[in-house]
Amino acid sequence: MEDGKMVEPQKVDAPVRPDIDLAKLPNATIGDIYVENPRMTARQVRVNYGDKTAIEDVSLDIGGSEVISFIGPSGCGKSTFLRCLNRMNDTIKTCKVSGDIRLNGGDIYAPDVDVVPLRARVGMVFQKPNPFPKSIFDNVAYGPKIHGLADNTGHLKQIVQEALERAGLWSEVHNRLDDPGTGLSGGQQQRLCIARAIAVSPEIILMDEPCSALDPIATARIEQLIHELSSEYSIVIVTHSLQQAARVSKRTAYFHLGRLVEVGLTDKLFMKPQHEMTNNYITGRFG
């Protein structure tokens, strides 16, 4: 393993050959798209950047208290689909999202929906840790403050403490809450970002390759944290590391060229994938 980064031993950028691959895509997603009592549902989602289609006809359920991982080669649309779930794609001007995405039954793309409270209910953790250039306390307190979640200052302090505890960071920072958030190590910063997301009491936490900038120990701590958090939150994690998806998630969804090829229980999918393309991807073969 190289220092500082977890190296996927078998995975090299698979050259995507759209002409060959398109022919092999299944007509419909293979596997269990639906779950009972889903928290979020997506039906026939399509995303275009200008005239380029990034995601085509993706339907998927996200269940409560589950960890589901999105895997697939670069450019397959997994991050794009992730960002549809909390409407972060709104910030990109050329992006058009169509289809039906619901959170607890409510359409999140309805014209009267305000994205601000949506993003409090569907939190996000990014690839490179991006704490605010403020103190550790202010980082975590910012969300509750702007959403008016705390009754008073004391309550706010409690929220911050609990969020940091759940993120496994409290013991390391409780005596230096006024230090700048950017002064922490990479792994700590990412946990701070997770605490920041937790502080606004979301139902779902979206994670876009949260460990790709971290060393193996920090990665392991975050994976442990994901496991602990999964009892309360639904977690959707996009990852380039097959082994991470295998370790961390209960369900795995394989994307390719903008389509959802296969979804299934992680242990089944990694032992016996049903579609040839899934098999080729997870064993590291040319498609």
């Binding site: 409270p117 993003r119 409090a120 939190g123 990014f126 991006n130 702007i146 950017t182």
Partner: protein, 434 residues
């Protein structure tokens, strides 16, 4: 013919060739460094010469010659009505009081001699006496040793610019005056001291009384107006263009125009101010308000462009983090983007201000070249600014103005350096790591 190899060379060949090329590369490297160093040396030389010439000419401008004489502060003469009112003081004969003291100091007898003696002292001496007595009436009916400025010709003579050897008919100072000057000097009554006139005096045709105070206040007022207008508008425009405006043709056109405005000669803004504010709106000329508006128009493009660059430099990850936690666009801008962009915005603003401080042409167009004696009390009082004052003084013939002009330039430079230092301090304080 040497066979040129195709494609990558072997490491051994590469090592050889790299070593062989080193001599030539090192030589061009050395030449470049030499060029750079000599350029720096030339620049430093020029800098030294510049500062030397400014300071050598300017420092003496901070000083002028005074005479200290015993004055009988005669109440009756100074304050005829006895109520110490300004009117009374002006009606009184302060000049006479001073003249008597002067005649006594040089033993002047006869009208001609007395006239010569009278020419020694500055015309502003009597005002000085009036102010003195007005501020401190207890001085009445006492005899005090007071210090008065000498006339600018005497000052020039004492500095050596008017030469003793020149024949009297070509000299601005008569022989009798020279005799009196020598007398006063041998009595130790002539003093070379820090010129309070320079700093606290206002515009005057008499060089010994001329000062920059009025222009200084005028500059401050004008710059204040400029800052109050340009900073908020410039920053808000930058925020709008960067964060909120949709990327379409109209926005593009606005951007192009702003960039072009930055290159427009400043005189044009003066003409604009003249035509619009003074011509159409009929506002008075030469007031800091108009000057400030004109300078604001001129500085806006600078502030907008540098603010936009500062906003663009804020990494998108900060924005994404804020949006991801549920901040609205406005909250993202004001809580996250602006604090991080602030150092850059402030730096751009202060650079713009420093530029505005030194602007002369547009202010000339709106008439701030007028001869204003009084210190402007507010933005609607007529005034002038430092660079214009310097410009005017450079025109005047009297020798003493040369020194004062250079001294004023030093003051202006000090102002500029202070502003830039403030920029650096502010930027350092506000810099945050992200």
């Amino acid at each position: 013919m040497i066979d040129t190899p195709k494609g990558l060379v072997s490491p051994t060949t590469a090592t050889e060739r790299v070593a062989a090329s080193m001599a030539k590369r090192k030589k061009s490297e050395r030449n470049f460094q030499l060029l750079g160093r000599s350029a720096i040396a030339v620049a430093l030389t020029f800098l030294v010469v510049l500062f030397f010439s400014i300071f050598s000419k300017g420092l003496p401008g901070f000083f002028q010659y005074y005479v200290e004489i015993e004055v009988e502060i005669d109440r009756e003469k100074l304050d005829p009505t006895g109520d110490l009112s300004l009117q009374s003081l002006y009606d009184g004969d302060a000049r006479g009081v001073i003249r008597s003291a002067l005649y006594a100091a040089v033993d002047a007898e006869g009208r001609k001699n007395k006239r010569a003696a009278g020419k020694l002292i500055s015309a502003g001496a009597e005002q000085r006496l009036r102010e003195l007595v007005y501020d401190d009436p207890s001085l009445m009916d006492t005899t005090q040793t007071l210090r008065f400025a000498l006339d600018d010709d005497v000052d020039s003579f004492l500095r050596g610019f008017i030469k003793r050897e020149t024949p009297e008919k070509d000299r601005r100072i008569s022989d009798k005056m020279v005799e009196y000057i020598d007398r006063l000097q041998s009595d130790g009554k002539i003093v070379y001291a820090f010129s309070d006139y320079l700093i606290f005096g206002s515009a005057s045709r008499n060089p010994e009384m001329a000062g920059i105070y009025g222009a200084f206040i005028g500059s401050i007022l004008t710059l204040s107006v400029c800052l109050v207008l340009a900073f908020p508008i410039g920053v808000a425009t930058a925020i709008y263009l960067e964060e909120i405006a949709p990327k379409n043709r109209i926005t593009e056109i606005i951007e192009i125009n702003i960039n072009n405005l930055a290159a427009v000669p400043s005189v044009v803004f003066g003409i604009l101010g003249l035509a619009v504010f003074i011509g159409i709106f009929g506002m008075p000329r030469s007031i800091p308000l108009i000057g400030g508006v004109v300078l604001a128009l001129m500085t806006l493009p600078t502030i907008i462009i540098s603010s936009r660059a500062a906003i663009r430099a804020v990494p998108p990850s900060v924005r994404e983090a804020a949006l991801g936690v549920g901040a609205s666009q406005v909250q993202t801008i004001f809580h996250h983007v602006i604090p991080l962009a602030m150092p850059g915005m402030l730096t751009g603003t202060i650079i713009g201000m420093a530029q505005a401080l030194g602007e002369t042409a547009p202010l000339l167009m709106i008439g701030m070249v007028a001869f204003i004696v009084d210190v402007p009390g507010g933005v609607t009082d007529p005034g002038t600014v430092l660079p214009v004052q310097i410009f005017m003084w450079a025109d005047f013939a009297e020798r003493m103005f040369v020194q004062k002009t250079s001294a004023a330039i030093i003051v202006l430079l000090a102002f500029l350096i202070t502003m830039n230092a403030a920029a650096i301090i502010v930027r350092k304080k506000l810099e945050r790591r992200w």
